[in-house]
Amino acid sequence: MGRKKKKQMKPWCWYCNRDFDDEKILIQHQKAKHFKCHICHKKLYTGPGLAIHCMQVHKETIDGVPNAIPGRTDIELEIYGMEGIPEKDMEERRRVLEQKNQETQKKKQNQDDSDEYDDDDEPGPSFQQPAAGQPQAGYIPPMSQPGLPPGSGAPGIPPGSYSGIPPMMPGVPPMMPGMPPVMPGMPPGMIPMGGMMPPMMPGVPPGIPPPVAHRPGLTHMPQVPPAANVLTRPAVSAAAALSAQPDVTKPLFPSAGQSQPTVSGSPHTPPSTSSDPLKPTFPAYTQASAAVSSPSAGSSTVSKPPSTVTSKPATLTTSSATSKLIHPDEDVSLEELRAQLPRYQCSIPRQGQPTAAAPSAGPVGGIMAPQQHGMRHPIPGQYGGPPQGLPGFMPGRMPPYGQAPPVVPPGYQGAPPRPPMGMRPPVMSPGGRY
């Protein structure tokens, strides 16, 4: 091999240490594997570019470069092809290559020295760094999650995991770490979950965008919808954030079985252990969920209906590039909004005046039933001759706002099921309003 022309003989990918014949191919590889947005599959050019894209378009932060080996996941390093590789990594690579070369040469030459096994060295260098660099890769399940600072150099996402996730259907709800084999005919609805599938959360990523869009509040944590929690559980669990469920105890609810006080809270711990394998394929999500902690969506706020999150008119209906809530931008319910309209204002705020006149709306009285025996004039004449016995409804005439004597409810035939009552029940008239 000649002297080092470009930085190293053959182009190699800094993120995953793979060799390529040509830099062009290397770049294509990087774009497809390391700089590809997991949400929309857009291929960016660099790591930082990907991070910015995710933030701006999907409102999501990513912690590390996808499919990168531990230690090489730094999203902030601007590497393109062979450019931008830190010098020390270059040297290390050279060393490794040289060692490999020497090894092969040695082998050829010194076949006898079979005692010396150079293999030991090999794995060494390449892993040292990662090892060292491997921050707490362990995603320390027990959390202190809220905010697993993404910065910590990439919680070593198991390299393989990301690649495993094929283009996620954006429509897929963040349901669980679904079972890879999605049920056929399972439209982008729920993914059958059989249980937690240890590594892979195919379902998660796609689900994120929309919900995320609404949670601008959390800085780096892409506020993952609680569903994602399911995944994380591990972290979450501890997260304790488990809002202090005000244990009004009272173990009732037969189904409860063990309804101990801390119901919702405690069970978390067990999960943590089991879900380890799950770990964060999407560190972003895990953390978020961690912060969120299982059922509580309230993120930081505990117990009390998180006023911080949600319901702030502004956040309520964020329209983002990816989603739009079809709901008025307010903190009140649709019914409350509608009820404010003048046309729906109750007509006479009756407060219980049992006057005959009152019931204009004929609420009480309405009716006819006593008429069962042909009483022809049911009520104190408020409504002149209500057609009783009318099997049909008064076609629509119902004044929308209840006022007016109108209506008259057709007779309740009731014969079959109900023994004709007949009695004008003493209460007849307006029926005893309170």
Binding site: P174, H214, R215, A227, S255, L325, L334, Q351
Partner: protein, 369 residues
């Protein structure tokens, strides 16, 4: 042709109200249309309990009325009676014996409608519109539970003008459900409270909402032993959370799923997210139905965590739904829910209630419930 009970083609069930309609977007599912629907948006639907023979459907509407229809086996619906309030009716429910219907209205009162006599009398009073009303039948007491926008939850013995009990809530009641001995109330500001009803109602636990948006509807589900074990909570953000009260593994057992959204897989255009207006559980299969502002209904199997079916899109939002007592009939109402504000309200537009044979479509997938 027996509409309910076993297969067979319904749809031919005469409703006679509308003629042809091949592909009318108001009824793309070609379901049976209930005759004489209310004149304004339908806020609630409820079928009679099994204690009564036959199927009777009540529907409350923003036209201040609550109507009762008899649904016959051949699919015919016969209007039977109606009652009025002085304000829009927001919720209605049946007593356990099917003789009375309780209605709750914006006029801050709740009424008890005796169907036999067709008389209604006021049984409750709040300081604000009553959004939710449920009948509670306990071994040692029976009462009506009313949840109001005045932030109180009151319990009424129908014979007395004063509530038996009044519980303060953190916020306005938006929806509630009762399956003895459990009651769940979801309030504004994402509040969520579970009550236990044994002996007397009391607050059991306040839960941190699994959802990040305004709560809109809630429905309790039962376990295999027919005991209430959790609930499904829907929000305005096209999402439903399945939450168990005491699950062995909450993180794993509780989950949420997205629904009632447009552009499922298409990421190029923004996705429209619609509110979930109502959730109902099938009384036999334990599977659930959700209806949304997008004008669709969907059936889901929460145990298999899969979607069973999604309907075609109706031209109006679907505002209410319910199953009859044996799960053969699924009723859903098509009317405007105000999701796009008052500009889209057209008082002339007809409101509909449709009935669908639900015996087959809601069977659980794989795992038997």
């Amino acid at each position: 042709m027996s509409l309910f009970g076993t297969s067979s083609g319904f749809g031919t069930g005469g409703t006679g109200v509308f003629g042809s309609t091949t592909t009318d977007s108001h009824n793309p599912m070609k379901d049976v249309e209930v005759t004489s629907p209310p004149d304004d948006s339908i806020s609630c639907l409820a079928f009679s309990p099994p204690t009564m023979p036959g199927n009777f459907l009540i529907g409350g509407s923003w036209a201040n009325d609550v109507r009762c229809w008899e649904v016959q086996d051949n699919g015919q619906t016969v209007p039977k009676a109606q009652q009025m309030h002085t304000g829009p009716v927001l919720d209605a429910c049946w007593s356990d014996d099917g003789s009375k219907v309780f209605t709750a209205s914006c006029d801050k009162t709740a009424k008890m409608w005796d169907l036999n006599s067709n008389q209604a009398m006021q049984i409750a009073q709040h300081d604000g519109p009553i959004k939710a009303i449920h009948w509670i039948k306990a071994p040692n007491y029976s009462c009506i539970m009313t949840g109001s926008w005045d932030k109180t939850l009151k319990f009424w013995d129908t014979r007395s003008a004063n509530p038996m009990m009044s519980l303060q809530m953190p916020e306005r009641c938006y929806c509630a459900d009762v399956v003895y001995p459990m009651a769940v109330v979801a309030t504004a500001e994402r509040g969520l409270i579970v009550y236990q009803l044994e002996n007397q109602p009391s607050e059991f636990r306040r839960i941190d909402s699994p959802l990040k948006h305004q709560h809109r509807c809630v429905a309790i589900f039962k376990d295999k032993q027919n005991k209430p074990t959790g609930f499904a909570l829907g929000s305005i953000e096209g999402r439903v959370a399945i939450h168990y009260i005491n699950p062995p593994n909450p993180a794993k057992d509780n989950f949420t799923f997205k629904c009632h959204r447009s552009n499922g897989t298409n990421t190029t255009t923004p996705q429209d997210i619609y509110a979930v207006n109502a959730i109902s559980f099938h009384p036999v299969h334990g599977t659930l139905a959700t209806v949304g502002s997008d004008g669709r209904f969907s059936f889901w199997d929460k145990d298999a965590r899969t979607k069973l079916k999604t309907s075609e899109q109706l031209d109006q939002p679907i505002t209410a739904c319910c199953f009859n007592h044996n799960g053969n009939i699924f009723a859903y109402a098509s009317s405007y829910d105000w999701s796009k504000g008052h500009e889209y309200y057209n008082p002339q537009k007809k409101n509909y209630i449709f009935l669908r044979n639900a015996a087959e479509e809601l069977k659980p997938r794989n795992k038997k419930w």
